[in-house]
């Protein structure tokens, strides 16, 4: 693969070499082989800047936030809120307080389902979701529907792995909420969030976007998207585990009751009742993941410095190269749409080799891929496949690692005696 010339908004070989040098884990040698990490869609690796920011917090200024009047508590509070401001800017939020810290995107979606959902969804209402949702953007709506007596409607997936939008207006007719992913975690399909949000709004439905795979790998502007809620996790975008964001439009968040209750989210507390804090504190009960928020801020700094346009472009180049190489192999099936509608997440099967066996053989070569149903069981049924192996690329991967994947697949075919 020819890496893009420096005039193109991608990453050069020099950029990638520098980036790789900043990820300590890439020096590891599992089974004596160089680590080829192709599972960033599950969780990305962390640069030294993120690890150091968290380490620095614990070594120099750890204290609870919004509580102490002493110096290091003020430092901790400032770092926690500074990270929120960075994240808000990163996704184009109009104000930091629209970004609520949660544990991960799953908790963010549950927050909307419990708080907004139980306030606004009534018996007989309709909730629309898609067939390509991760279980975390499906099961919360199933539970909401069961508990309120609402019904679920489904946007189906075409054979090409795209959303089938022919029936969308009929599905949205009278619906209260439309939950969909920006990028499929299994197929890499990139959905048109602007279009889907606009259609939801026109139908009077609130839109909830699972942006777990989108925010790490492409420029995102929630204002341009025109949606109502957006959920994503830090750990998929170079940040630590244990922290994520649910972004919501201010007027919606302000009208929502608390989700979790406790310290930090209150106004005045009396024995019989309490008033609640404003945004964002109302939704952040209890001592939050402070070090993780600090690390999240450092991750956003890192991605911003590299440039999301360039990261997106580079990942597409890797995906295009991988699709080309995979296409040259006999008995390899790649799922999902063509390069124009996808990003660097590639699901595949090889002959009659089960995805687990393929992943085990790739692991023996130091190559990490995900194998299984990817928390996407209805989609796997739609594709009529029990399990796939999934390779996903990120800014620290290289064309040579695509070559290693291809060689690993060739080895698996040899072991299983497949042409």
């Amino acid at each position: 693969m020819a890496l893009a010339p420096s005039s193109s908004p991608s990453l050069t070989q020099t950029d990638v070499a520098r980036i790789r040098s900043e990820f300590p884990i890439l020096k590891e040698r599992p089974h004596g082989k160089p680590l080829v990490f192709l599972d960033s869609a599950a969780s990305s690796q962390k640069p030294v800047q993120v690890i150091d920011a968290m380490d620095d917090y614990y070594r120099r200024y750890h204290a609870n936030i919004h509580r102490g009047v002493y110096h290091i508590s003020e430092l901790a509070t400032e770092a926690y809120e500074d990270a929120r401001r960075k994240i808000a800017r990163f996704i184009g939020a109009s104000a930091p307080e629209e970004c609520i810290y949660v544990r991960n995107a799953t908790e963010g979606i549950n927050l909307v389902a419990y708080s907004w959902g139980r306030t606004n969804i009534r018996r007989g209402d309709a909730i629309v979701v898609t067939e390509m949702e991760h279980h975390s953007n499906l099961v919360p709506w199933q539970i909401l529907a069961q508990q309120t007596g609402a019904s679920l409607r489904f946007v189906r997936v075409t054979d090409d792995g795209l959303l089938d939008l022919r029936d969308l207006d009929r599905l949205l007719d009278g619906a209260k909420l439309f939950a969909f992913t920006a990028v499929s975690n299994t197929l890499g399909t990139v959905n048109d969030v602007e279009l889907l949000s606009a259609r939801a709004r026109a139908a009077g439905a609130v839109s909830v976007v699972d942006a777990c795979q989108a925010v790490p790998r492409m420029p995102v502007d929630v204002g341009a998207w025109g949606c109502d809620f957006v959920a994503f996790s830090a750990h998929k975008m170079l940040g630590p585990t244990g922290v994520g964001i649910i972004w919501g439009r201010r007027e919606l968040l302000e009208a929502m009751p608390p989700f979790l209750a406790g310290g930090g989210m209150i106004g005045v507390v009396r024995l019989e009742s309490s008033t609640y804090a404003g945004l964002p504190a109302r939704f952040e009960a209890g001592t939050p993941a402070i070090a993780e928020a600090v690390g999240f801020g450092a991750a956003v700094d890192y991605l911003t410095a590299v440039g999301m346009d360039r990261i997106h472009r580079y990942e597409l180049e890797l995906a295009e190269y991988a699709l080309k190489r995979l296409g040259e192999l006999k008995n390899v099936t790649v799922y999902g749409p063509g390069i124009d509608h996808r990003t660097g997440v590639i699901s595949l099967t090889v002959g009659d080799i089960h995805a687990h066996d393929l992943a085990t053989i790739l692991d023996s070569e130091g190559i990490c891929v995900r194998a299984g149903h990817h928390c996407n069981q209805p989609l796997m049924e739609r594709l009529d496949v029990a399990a796939t192996a999934r390779a996903s690329f990120y800014l620290y991967n290289t064309p040579a690692e695509v070559d290693a994947l291809i060689a690993g697949i060739e080895k698996a075919k040899a072991i299983f005696k497949i042409a």
Binding site: D352, D357, T360, S364, G372, A386, K411, K417
Partner: protein, 137 residues
């Protein structure tokens, strides 16, 4: 011989043979004991049907989908229990299944190797627990 770093030992011919040509594949009509289970994390699935007469397994069939390790292990297990007394089957443990497979299984794949045994034990537990609860006639 290529250097397959142990992978050719893991996926040796007889494992692939049992994977592609599972013994005792299928289902039984009116089984005396039956159970189906899956590994929800990976989707491997196995159903096992047994015909039991006078405390002896007369026939056994299994149906499943999953990786070579889980399917070959279940296939081997069905071969080893046909004609065996229930008491003998009760005594089969994890180590017996692994030594029957004859390959070294990593911790991550242990659940695959043992799914067939788990299904077999649950089928028998279900039958004999239910039988215990039936009033003597």
């Amino acid at each position: 011989m290529n250097d397959f770093s142990g992978m050719d030992a893991l996926y040796r011919d007889f494992i692939l043979d049992h994977y592609r040509n599972p013994r005792n594949a299928g289902t039984l009509e009116g089984p005396d004991a039956s159970f189906e289970d899956l590994n929800p994390l990976c989707g491997d699935k196995i159903r096992m049907d047994l015909k039991i007469r006078d405390g002896v397994v007369e026939d056994v069939k299994f149906k499943g989908r999953g990786c070579a390790i889980s399917q070959a292990s279940a296939s081997l297990l069905t071969e080893s229990i046909k004609g065996k007394k229930i008491a003998e089957i009760d005594a089969i443990g994890k180590d017996d299944v692994l030594s029957n497979l004859g390959i070294s299984i990593s911790a991550a794949r242990l659940k695959c190797a043992l799914l067939g045994l788990k299904v077999l034990k649950q089928a028998l537990a279900l039958k004999y627990e239910t039988a215990d609860e039936e009033p003597a006639s």
